[in-house]
Symmetry: C2
Subunit: 234 residues, 2 copies
């Protein structure tokens, strides 16, 4: 049984003390019933992995003494999924969990012309990323900027290779056929009603290439996860 | 706007009348507010696509007159995902929806040694397959046998190429590197606690080859969906 695995934004050198947040502390004390000196892994989500041990427990907070620190190399490639926010928030949150598990490094929530809902709960979404990172035993948290307007994002989007998966009739490369190449990769996925022709044209003007994700009509979150799998699992 | 799309198990030749079930009928009458002679698509989930029109509406049931019938060619390959049932049923149901969207043709619910929960609601699961088939505008419903014991299924499992994605240390081919080949394909995904060494050994004795799904630790339903994406999206 491996040590339990926790997240802490604080970085402290070995010997120092980290205070776990209330949720993590409750898990340590009430669920795992850990005792003083019991050991755990911790990560800062920025590539550092610590071994620590329970130092003391308050009513709400658990203090952990850091014993050792190792560096986990960063993901080899920047893999960015830019995807429209969804009316059904749970479907978007589900995508966040799954994309994090696969090892996607950047998630850009998009507001497109046909995006129906732009509500974005940063704290809640961030917690989902953290849980999925810990659950999949990773030490690099995907970065996720605040939602950005598609037309503002396109000109500043980064990536050696950039793709757009729109549903309109056009010349498209099947993503599985072109994905195995070097360099950082970015793909954008539109809302349920698809990108507008103007949005697709703007992307093509900025070095995006049109790709297809198979022959069936996928929901936005399914298309986004399919893209995540094809980009991240090699 | 395409016609709305409905499912009916009955197959009737053009001219005949189909009675939609209560849920579909309510959708026609109360949500879409369709009127007599309004047109819709229907499928039997076995490759037939019909155009029909509202013939009459009772209190609970909508009768549809079939006007024309076309045959949709079957999927080119049999793609089978055999996956352990999950303690968290909603995660398994989520996988059913997504795997159907991608175009997987057979889903085999497995009961493995470490499967924690074997409860299986056929009616509910079947409805999820139907909804996902309609939502992705397909006319072939994935087949899904009742849950089967892993050790009983392995000897009778079909597929020109068969893979097992266990998490134990061993020689493994990365699935994305070997998936692009002809023939019917089958992959099995274990429960949260992984297959037992005995289960993995039994699979290898029956022509299954060990594959990996990347470097991160994926939840069962994430691994199963990643496999579905890699098999179905070419």
């Amino acid at each position: 049984m491996p040590f339990p695995f926790f997240y802490s934004e604080e970085i402290v050198p070995p010997g120092g003390i980290v205070t776990l947040d209330e949720t993590a502390s409750k898990h340590v004390m009430q669920v795992l019933r850990m005792k003083k000196d019991d050991q755990m892994y911790l990560t800062d989500g920025k590539g550092k992995k610590f071994i620590g041990s329970v130092h003391s427990m308050g009513r709400r907070n658990c203090m952990v003494q850091i014993q050792s620190e190792t560096n986990v190399p960063p993901p080899q490639q920047q893999l960015t999924i830019a995807v429209s926010l969804l009316k059904n928030t749970s479907r978007f949150e589900w995508f966040l969990e799954k994309a994090t598990e696969t090892g996607i490094t950047v998630i850009v929530p998009l507001v497109c012309e046909r995006t129906e809902r732009t509500h974005f709960r940063r704290d809640r979404m961030q917690n989902i990323l953290v849980s999925a990172m810990l659950q999949s035993r990773q030490c690099w948290l995907p970065s996720m900027p605040d939602p950005v307007n598609f037309k503002e994002w396109i000109p500043v989007s980064t990536g050696d290779i950039k793709w757009i998966a729109h549903c309109m009739e056009s010349e498209k490369e099947p993503l599985p056929k072109v994905v195995a190449c070097a360099g950082s990769k970015t793909i954008c996925i539109g809302p349920e009603g698809d990108f507008t022709p103007q949005e697709a044209a703007l992307a093509l003007e900025h070095r995006f290439r049109a790709v297809s994700l198979g022959n069936t009509r996928l929901r936005t979150e399914t298309a986004a996860l399919a893209a995540a799998v094809l980009l991240a699992i090699q």
